[in-house]
Assembly symmetry: C2
Homo-oligomer: 301 residues x 2
Amino acid sequence: MISNFYNYLENLQNTITSKIEKIDGKSSFLEDLWDHHDSGGGRTRVISNGNIFEKGGVNISSISGTLPKIMQSQLKTKNKNFSACGLSIVFHPLNPMIPTVHFNIRYFEMIDLLGNKCDQWFGGGIDLSPYYIFENDVILFHKNCKEICDKYGENLYIEYKTKCDKYFWNSHRNEARGVGGLFFDYLKDTPEKSLKEWNSFVKELGDNFLKIYLPIVNKRKEMPFTKYEKMWQEIRRGRYAEFNLIHDKGTLFGIKTKGRIESIMMSLPPTVRWQYNFFPNLGSKEEKLISILQKPKNWIK
Amino acid sequence: MISNFYNYLENLQNTITSKIEKIDGKSSFLEDLWDHHDSGGGRTRVISNGNIFEKGGVNISSISGTLPKIMQSQLKTKNKNFSACGLSIVFHPLNPMIPTVHFNIRYFEMIDLLGNKCDQWFGGGIDLSPYYIFENDVILFHKNCKEICDKYGENLYIEYKTKCDKYFWNSHRNEARGVGGLFFDYLKDTPEKSLKEWNSFVKELGDNFLKIYLPIVNKRKEMPFTKYEKMWQEIRRGRYAEFNLIHDKGTLFGIKTKGRIESIMMSLPPTVRWQYNFFPNLGSKEEKLISILQKPKNWIK
């Protein structure tokens, strides 16, 4: 299963990076191959200073190792050994009218003391962090997410949408990181749904990632923006960095398992601003974003 | 004890902010008074976009509350109630030739179930994060720290210097946040040293903070710098933000005890850059900084 899935991720990475380069038209991805200190490794691809993408990464990795104690207790397991592979994407656009996007799919296997697979599951998600709200973009994004979920179960969308709002919650700021999307984990073999079906589900998300994100990019990429709007984007990127460094379990997992630090930190925005106690004017477009982030809403009626 | 010490902190904050405004010559501090949701509050003063200081904060607070469980187990106590007050300073200079400085002194009291003080101590520290190494500045900084420590015990400097190197260690990067200084905690009443003496020690540090930092500012403030050097400063500020958001116990304590978030986050740099896998040229001044941070050294022979 793991090598099949990794093979899929390699192809998906190729497809996504080549399409993104074509759309960006200026920059191309730098590739770094790396070995994990335990066993396995990854292929990191990062784009910088593009026409459209100020910074972005499309990373895959496949590692085997031992879980740090804190992760063992989080997973409530006495087994230590695991194998895992996954793909992570973050795009930070130059133009603040285009939202930042994050996408991840992963497969995880626990190995018992005899060296046998004893548990396995898929996880992942997709979520959008706009700097300015274009409601139709957000609704379309959620509709596209829902359409895929609906093929696999009628309650999946609302379940994963709710999990996403909960997960990407910047609790120390009392606001969401963005306008949500999907978040799921521990998709295991059950009488209702086989691991094979979950495998299809995450692959379908992977295959549709660009179809979901790029229409928004194309609609917004030519929009003009002011210095103030760029500054606002950089302030909001500060909240994005705070989430990733304080709360994100993927970042923590990477650090705790001694992953390649530059591949983990590729998710951080290119330029960030922390301005003391900045709050946008009442009634402004910037304040509209804040009010939406403070109370995650259902985008599909 | 706590009200006496807070009174001292209020005066110290006044002295420091007025002297910093004078030296900066352009910007002045904004003041925010705030109440803690439990009991107590603080006085936050932040300077922005100055001639010398791009961002800086001098904050005091005095709060009473209940410890979150995680902090109880860190402090190995079954008591929950505490009172604490402290002063925190961070200055992020505009000119990358001037180091960022951090200073903190604090007093902490545990309260037992009957409402009586059952444990009390001082803590704090001072440390320097340069972007370019001027060895004489660093040596002078450490000598000044040592001079104060020596008055209170012949091994204090080396003990607190070692603790500082250990505490401000960005373990996920395998490098120090800066060139160190002093870090101490749990300075309690003992047969060798009374709480009153520790009180004098932290006050002496407070009284000398500007005498330690400003000579460095004055020596470097007129130095010219290039765009590249400013970019390097912003990249290094990224490491500073990573430390504060991933590792710093003060930030975590503030978040866990639901402190005022803007006062906690004032320590973050004004502008930050995360550039994928950036490494300075071999033999450059930038690389010299990295090599020093990777192996904390003894600045005083």
